[in-house]
């Protein structure tokens, strides 16, 4: 029986992020929240001024991530990752919309579109 999963919080993409801009951060994962309405990856990484920040990278809902092969244990605190995403409109949030994440240690990577 088809179970078209409930999608995540219908994202306010254009209202939340600069969709025409891309930002890359590199650092260590502090927390991976595999959850609804949207998953988040918190990464400790420097900003453009070299100041260490806790970045909140918004990902997809659980059902959507599972469909794309990402489960709750895909990322762990301490993992060193390179993340690319659209920067948030509110700079104080230090926030990105996930476009890609790569873990150089073992070559694991994900890229896609979060809706």
């Amino acid at each position: 029986m088809p179970r078209r999963g409930a999608r995540g919080r219908p994202s306010l993409l254009a209202a939340t992020y600069f969709e025409d801009k891309t930002q890359k951060i590199e650092g260590n994962i502090v927390q991976f929240m595999f959850r609804n309405p949207h998953s988040f990856v918190h990464v400790e990484a420097p900003d453009e001024n070299g100041q260490m920040q806790r970045w909140a990278v918004e990902w997809a809902a659980t059902a959507q991530l599972k469909e794309s092969g990402v489960d709750y244990d895909a990322l762990k605190p301490g993992d060193h990752v390179v993340v690319t995403g659209n920067p948030g409109r509110n700079p104080a949030d230090h926030r990105l919309r996930m476009q890609s994440v790569e873990r150089p240690k073992d070559g694991w990577k994900w890229s896609g579109t979060v809706r």
Binding site: L12, A14, R35, P37, N90
Partner: protein, 317 residues
């Protein structure tokens, strides 16, 4: 209030429903089953949502415009906001829908209809047994209090007691004083829901929209567990917002779509075809100079109003 236009739209939809339906005349239509949302109308209310300060086509007043201008999308990351369900008048915009009925075991009358949406699984009851709406001071909820009656093959539903919410996800508010009238119309495997929102606080005319669903017998609703977490690390009680005159994105959407700023500011006149003639006389909006540099929403802790005491019954937070 342009009641003539509202009546014309409703009459047209009703006539279409009555003429095209395959259901025997005067029979109560059965809405039971699963319905797949058809996302071919009003893209601003679907998937990716609207852009900031994009209010065109909505009959808002100045107070609602200010609500929209002061809104920041970061508000959705505040713990109290992360898991709220969409209200009854907004949820059907994009969610899958399941409907079922309760039947009196003796009389076989339909006592109530129920709707459930996939996003957060909110369940609504539409009472069909003629009971009155509760008094104004009764609790307000996300789904409100709904009663229904048949008008031919069309189910007409009146909803009151809704929590204050929104008519568009970019901050345009809908008050707890709003009432909602819906018309459920089935044509074969297609279900059309016409929603009419009347709000004396934020709207100058009724806001009318229609949503279509297709019968989807194989669909099975999935649970929607939602957890509240710290999505963005900020001080407790901080509410992202823009104070009047500080939102740097007001003209961005209009400029991006090469349209004048005035229609993007909304208002009842922007709903009607004749407004297109006025648009031709207006200059195209210009992109804000440096939105990123000055675009930081403020996150001062929310201050209770001077008269704050026991929260008013039915008020949202």
């Amino acid at each position: 209030m342009n009641e003539t236009r509202a009546r014309q739209l409703i009459a047209l939809a009703a006539a279409w429903a009555l003429c095209a339906t395959a259901t025997p005349a005067f029979a109560q239509v059965d809405f039971s089953g699963a319905w797949a949302a058809r996302l071919h109308e009003d893209n601003l209310e679907r998937g990716g949502g609207p852009e900031m300060n994009e209010f065109e086509g909505l009959p808002i007043n100045a107070a609602d415009r200010m609500r929209g201008d002061s809104w920041s999308a970061s508000l959705w990351t505040v713990p109290e906001h992360q898991c709220i369900p969409h209200p009854a008048d907004y949820g059907p915009n994009f969610s899958q829908l399941v409907m079922w009925k309760d039947v009196d075991p003796v009389t076989k009358d339909v006592v109530s209809w129920h709707t459930e949406l996939s996003w957060m699984n909110p369940v609504r009851t539409i009472w069909m047994d003629g009971r009155p709406h509760p008094p104004a001071w009764a609790p307000h909820t996300w789904q409100g209090f709904s009663t229904g009656k048949w008008e031919g093959d069309m189910l007409t539903v009146e909803t009151t007691h809704l929590k204050p919410a929104y008519i568009r996800r970019n901050g345009l508010a809908r008050s707890e004083k709003a009432t909602v009238r819906e018309h459920f119309i089935r044509n074969g495997d297609i279900l059309t829901i016409i929603t009419i929102v009347t709000d004396p606080v934020y709207l100058t005319e009724p806001y009318i929209k229609s949503r279509n669903f297709q019968l989807d017998p194989g669909y099975r609703m999935t649970p929607y567990p939602c957890s509240v977490d710290v999505e963005i690390d900020r001080p407790a009680g901080a509410i992202p917002h823009y104070l009047p005159g500080t939102n740097p994105f007001i003209s961005e959407a209009a400029a991006k779509h090469k349209m004048p700023l005035e229609p993007a500011r909304g208002g009842a006149e922007t709903m009607y075809p004749e407004y297109m003639e006025r648009m031709k006389t207006l200059p195209t909006a210009t992109m804000p100079a440096q939105p990123a540099a000055s675009g930081s929403a403020q996150t001062a802790p929310a201050q209770p109003p001077a008269n704050a005491g026991t929260p008013a019954r039915g008020r949202e937070r």
